[in-house]
Subunit: 69 residues, 2 copies
Amino acid sequence: MDNFNLGSMVRDHRKKAGLTQLELANLAGVGKTTVFDIEKNKETVRWNNLLAVLEVLNIKVEFTSPLTK
Amino acid sequence: MDNFNLGSMVRDHRKKAGLTQLELANLAGVGKTTVFDIEKNKETVRWNNLLAVLEVLNIKVEFTSPLTK
DNA sequence: TTACAATTACTGTTATAACGGTAAAAACGT
DNA sequence: ACGTTTTTACCGTTATAACAGTAATTGTAA
């Protein structure tokens, strides 16, 4: 029912990668607080920082709309 | 070949919705500069601001990974 | 071309995310 | 239980995104 939670997804992937928040932060080139905030679903993080974290975890982002074919 | 451009997508959708940058900004509750920046692919915008703009344009975001089934 | 509308670019101010440090609280293993 | 690691929470400082002007440039329609 579409209550998707990005924070949980990030956390799950990080765990499966065997990384701590600090290690992930360093790999992504962001501060540990940012990783913490992302996992807590704080949406005021910067888009580029979120992207950097997702990239490390091999999570792809897709944008779709009714106009998308 | 995967040179996806979010800025162009936002611009296209905005045009098709018949909105100016300023109108979109107001609808999304962000400043006009932010809309401009998004269309220019400036990735340092805040995630929540980007989300607000995408929502107005009815663009959905999806996160996928090899672990996603 | 001429007006008008929209976009782009720049500026100064304000709000706040990012960051590292620290410390307390949870989680984990032995 | 115990010690170790990780996570959570809070803090002060710094960097910078967000914002509303404004003006210049580009685009559009007549």
